[in-house]
């Protein structure tokens, strides 16, 4: 009986007020998110585009066809996939390992937490400068160690076959801090009594990690991987920080999808190609996210 009254009261009375409160954010979202989204969708299907007047005309799949057959876009896609599918698993695993280690030390936990969090508050361009120097063919520490270990020094920043790997190493290190903090927060939520129970039950360290820590941490692991994958897909500033805005390494060999889109738009002025590249990228990301959700449902435990 009360539900009927509520149904007749709610939409009239509170509806207007609710919309009023929502209005500012709705305006912002519409102007800066929904409108550009549709604009991009429209741009991607222009037949012709005139840079001087910034006007497009016609409707067709030409821009998509161009982008899909552009070898530079192929390179950008394969580089982005490398950074994502090689870099993210490594950085997530490293962050998890470091977080578990920090969590298990009884003293100076705070000091280590702060130490590992420092990279997060450092600007990516400063870190890029340091990495440029580390990767330097003649004076870099990395080649210094390679020589020390009797390995052949590598042209990290100039060899077109190596630059993507260099960017990947950079993103692995640069993304570590936030992930460690997130994992430490996740570990904090795991009841310490489970570990006491495991000790009483004579559980080996290995089994404690794989049978208790990992499953109980799986929601955090999923969340961190999700963020990392999306972040890695959008890799742009890492490339700019390591090289510069003009070119992603020698002959654009370290180009990523976002870098390609930026290049098309601002450097080449081919707005409809940039939009088409963005649309292809959007489809890939949506597919990836959907896949991840299916995988997560199978392996994630929610308490």
């Amino acid at each position: 009986m009360s539900s009927k009254r509520q149904r007749t009261l709610r939409p009239h009375r509170n509806g207007a007020a609710a919309w009023l409160y929502l209005l500012p954010s709705l305006v912002v979202i519409t102007v800066f998110l929904i409108y550009p989204l549709f604009k991009v969708l429209r741009m991607g299907f222009y037949q012709k585009y005139v840079f001087i007047t910034d006007t497009g005309s016609g409707f067709g799949l030409d821009a998509l066809a161009y982008v899909l057959s552009d070898p530079v876009y192929h390179r950008a896609l394969s580089n982005t996939c490398f950074i994502t599918f090689v870099g993210v698993p490594i950085t997530v695993a490293l962050a998890l390992g470091i977080a578990v280690m920090i969590d298990s030390i009884p003293r100076f936990k705070g000091i280590f937490q702060n130490l590992y969090f420092l990279p997060y508050v450092t600007t990516v361009y400063a870190v890029g400068t340091v990495f440029k120097w580390l990767f330097h063919s003649d004076y870099g520490y990395i080649n210094f160690f390679f020589k020390f270990l009797g390995l052949e020094p590598q042209a990290w920043m100039t060899d077109p076959n190596l630059v993507t790997l260099s960017v990947t190493i950079f993103t692995i290190w640069n993304g570590l801090a936030l992930k460690i903090i997130l994992f430490l927060a996740g570990l904090q939520k795991v009841d310490k009594q489970y570990y006491q129970a495991a000790r009483i039950d004579g559980t080996s360290r290995r089994r404690v990690f794989f049978r208790i820590t990992l499953p109980l941490l799986s929601p955090t692991i999923w969340m961190v991987s999700m963020i990392s994958f999306i972040h890695a897909f959008k890799t742009y500033s890492a490339v700019v920080a390591m090289f510069d805005k003009e070119a992603a390494g020698p002959g654009n060999s370290a180009i990523t999808v976002v870098f390609y889109i930026y290049n098309m738009f601002f450097k080449k002025g081919q707005v409809h190609y940039a939009a088409a590249a963005a649309i292809v990228f959007l489809v890939i990301i949506i597919t990836m996210t959907a896949l991840q959700k299916i995988v997560a449902k199978k392996f994630t435990y929610y308490g």
Binding site: D191, Q193, Y194, Q196, A197, R199, I200, D201, G202, T203, S204, R207, R211, I212, P215, L216, S218, Y301, G303
Partner: protein, 355 residues
Amino acid sequence: MDMKLTLEHVTKDFSGTLAVNDISLTMQDGKLTGLLGPSGCGKSTLLYMIAGLEQVTSGHIYFDGQDVTTLPAETRGVGLVFQNYALYPHMTVEQNIMFPLLNARVKKESAQKKAREMARFVQIEEYMHRKPAQLSGGQQQRVAIARALVKSPQILLLDEPLSNLDARLRLDLREEIRRIQKETGVTTIFVTHDQEEAMSITDELVLMKNGIIQQIAAPQAMYRYPQSRFVASFLGNPPISFFNMVAENGLVELSPNLKLKFPISLSGPVVLGIRPEGWALGSGIVVEFLSVSVRGREQYVSFMLHGQKAYAILDTENAVKPGDRLSLALKPYCVHLFDPENGLRLGKGDAHYVE
């Protein structure tokens, strides 16, 4: 499975606070021993030290004569049931029970078989494939007990196992714990702050306060002959009432026709403790009831006696109401004498009437 557990001068110092202070005792093998005391008395700390999860500051712990003081928890062969069960939430009941066996590299089939047997023993076999969150508190506790018992521990330790359950379940489960302990014959230590729970199922009680043992005795013996004022006040509900009186050669006069002789010849100030069930309607001392509360099979009344508020449990045969002036008789064995200085019991055995 019998195992003798001995503690020798065991002390736990938490940076200046003595949680457990020089405790020496021997727990009876194959029996259920209750560690009882108010919260913060060190009973859980003591249990965790026996389990090996907490380090001993000084002293020694022996399992069957073997010094285990420095052995890590995993090698002591104890089963521990935690206050909030600590069941692994991502595993099924079966996986939880099997976990200790698989740790010990028992083959999966025989672990499964043992887990099933144990589940049947604690009556949860129909929930084998559920997760702990899908079970009631009582069922979770049964799973926790099964997990502790499945590896045939030398000692079973229970840390306030019933405190998270509702009153009705608590009654059922404490009988169940008693049955499980009797049938397995495993030496069991049961920590609780609930005196009724402790009295009802244990073979022996260890009452602690501020890290020090107050008394060790069978539950009924501890209730009947409390060694100190604290023990007397901790056991019993409603609590014992205390009166400051003067004894003359072991004789205390509550009223001209209610005189009690205690088995000690002592004159001077004493503290008299009277259990509320010691009173009954009858000739003795006339009092005026302040409050009456009827509890079904009995009624609790309060009245003033020698400047102190006293409680009595009366049967409901005669209805009484506040303001009634009635005469009460007293059972002498429900009266205890304590030293007003140190609170220790004065005289062994029961008091008796003198005309």
